[in-house]
């Protein structure tokens, strides 16, 4: 288990795994409204390496979604920088597919199939035929085969989110950005989706940045977990999960890690800085 405070370099890990795919350095993200200046995150820095399953964990309103949007290129940091493969992120692009938190991220004028095929066609990454085939495949994976020709307004909340997940996964992007994708799914569907995500990752070894509220999900899915504090989100700790041969976190470790995160998030005493990696 690694707990790494904000700001200090992760030389060891970086050296061991090649340069970071995504580097966020001292990123301060703000919203300017007509009266206020809302600071969503303050000087957040972390590195995401190739094939990381990187989890962002933090309380409601701490800036997780904003951070993800910044990585996707929708929000520009007022301070610090975000770079992808050593190039500063300055615009959105299909190399970073995002699953948004909101239910209305589907294009209402496209059927489920067309929605899933849409980024594949729009980005010219796949031909129309291939895109539709892939779309059908991923729609099947999220168990919506019978709804392929339905329009989004006829779906339930969880079904909409599953379409969005299929849409992002079907692109097989360099980086998959997911903002609480499984929050509105029931336990079984959620577990199935988690399995699918992991198996997709095993196939293509893509890099995933994943926002979740569930500590269990974080431990289950992630190999590295960034814990953010409230009042503009700052890095509280960066943890690593150690996995067994079956890819699962041993149940002893699981419990210990969960305790630790719970302590960090809910306990009165903040975990001391520099607690060692």
């Amino acid at each position: 288990m690694l707990a790494q405070p904000a700001g200090t370099p992760v030389e060891a890990a970086r050296a061991a795994r090649g340069g970071p795919v995504l580097r966020v350095e001292g990123a301060t993200l703000q919203y300017k409204t007509h009266r206020h200046l809302v600071t969503a995150t303050y000087r957040v820095g972390f590195d995401v390496f190739a094939a990381d399953r990187f989890i962002l964990l933090g309380p409601s309103g701490c800036g997780k979604s904003t951070l993800l949007k910044a990585i996707a290129g929708f929000v520009k940091p007022v301070e610090g920088s975000i770079s992808l493969h050593d190039r500063v992120v300055d615009r959105p692009g299909p190399d970073r597919m995002m699953v948004f938190q909101e239910f209305d991220q589907l294009l209402p004028w496209k059927t489920v199939r067309a929605n899933v095929a849409f980024p594949m066609v729009a980005s010219r990454k796949y031909g129309r035929r291939e895109a539709l085939e892939r779309a059908d495949h991923y729609i099947g994976l999220v168990n919506l085969g019978k709804f392929a020709d339905t329009y989004p307004h006829q779906l339930s909340g969880g079904m909409k989110q599953r379409v969005a997940i299929a849409r992002a996964m079907a692109m097989e992007p360099d980086i998959l950005l997911m903002d609480e994708p499984f929050a509105s799914l029931d336990a079984l569907t959620r577990r199935k989706m988690q399995d699918e995500l992991l198996s997709l990752w095993h196939q293509v070894r893509c890099t995933i940045v994943f926002v979740t509220h569930s500590i269990e999900e974080a431990i289950l899915l992630g190999n590295r977990i960034l814990v953010l504090s409230p009042h503009p989100g700052r890095v509280r700790a960066l943890l690593e999960t150690r996995r067994g041969a079956d890819g699962l976190v041993p149940s002893e470790d699981f419990r210990a890690l969960r305790e630790e995160i719970q302590q960090m998030l809910f306990g009165e005493n903040i975990v001391q800085e520099g607690a060692g990696i």
Binding site: F74, G93, L107, P108, W109, P119, G145, K146, Y151, L188
Partner: protein, 285 residues
């Protein structure tokens, strides 16, 4: 784990689920028919017209429905009305098409650059209130007499409201949808056609309807101003001529033709578009 676990069912998979709907009373069922309801409205309007005309008894100012129908049939049979309507429709469609293209261009520009945005809102605020006759000298100078001038004036009439509607529609597209589009790599024109236009389609459709109506209004008014030579005039000319001749029933026949075409376009074109787009997509109730 069963494969179909998470799937609800389309249609009645077994007869058990095919719940028979409660039958409604006949009157209510008839009333549920949109076409029938509209027909009733039209009949009521015609009856009101006839009643008022008979009561007012001023055929030179306000002919009755039957007189109008008479004049209508006479001029339909003689072909005059059809030819004039054809002339008008041709010019109308041309002007409308140009205006729609220009509005699309302007609204698109306004969406992509800040200067375009300012330009659109400034130009709209400036020129939209100007009546067509104000443009007469310019039209005469630039396009001379005849169809090009009429087109110019029509484009002026249609362009601004359409661009306003489209621009407002575009501006109202939710951030999430924009982000979804940008995320897929769309920028510039593909972004506009792929995201903004469909997402703003309810507003655009309203703009198209308003624009269509103003194209008619302006065409008829413009034909009076630009007069065209007396051989090739359109419906506006037909109305004007009959007005001057005090053939009021024919004037009303001309206006009824405009109304009729308006209804047909609404029912056959706009309703159909609406049904196959925004209503199907759940964007409009």
């Amino acid at each position: 784990m069963s494969r179909e676990f998470n799937e609800a069912t389309f249609g009645p998979p077994s007869e058990e689920w095919a719940v028979v709907e409660r039958p409604l009373p006949l009157l209510q069922r008839l009333f549920a028919h949109a076409a029938l309801r509209r027909l009733l409205i039209l009949l009521a309007l015609a009856a009101a017209w006839q009643g008022y005309a008979v009561w007012a008894d001023n055929p030179l100012m306000f002919p009755s429905f039957t007189e109008t129908i008479d004049a209508f049939w006479t001029d339909i049979r003689s072909g005059v009305l059809l030819i004039k309507t054809g002339n008008s429709l041709r010019v109308l469609c041309m002007g409308y098409a140009i205006a729609v293209a220009a509005a699309a261009l302007m609204a698109g520009l306004a969406m992509t650059t800040r200067l375009g945005d300012d330009l659109l809102s400034t130009l709209t605020a400036m020129f939209n209130p100007l009546p067509a006759i104000a443009l007469l000298p310019l039209a005469l100078l630039w396009f001379g007499l005849g169809t090009p001038s009429i087109l110019f004036v029509m484009v002026h009439a249609v362009l601004w409201p359409l661009a306003l509607n489209a621009h407002a529609g575009f501006s109202g597209v939710s951030d999430i949808l924009r982000m979804a589009g940008r995320n897929a790599g769309l920028r510039g024109l593909p972004f506009i056609t792929g995201i903004l236009i469909p997402a703003a389609f309810p507003a655009i459709l309203t703009g198209l309807k308003v624009g269509w109506a103003f194209a008619w209004r302006t065409l008829i008014a413009a034909e009076l101003v630009f007069g065209v030579s007396s051989r090739s005039g359109g419906l506006g000319w037909y109305i004007f001529e009959n007005k001057n001749r005090l053939e009021t029933a024919s004037v009303f026949a001309g206006l009824s033709t405009v109304i009729l075409i308006g209804l047909l376009v609404e029912v056959l074109i706009f309703r159909t578009i609406e049904r196959h787009t925004v209503r199907k997509w759940g964007m409009l109730r």
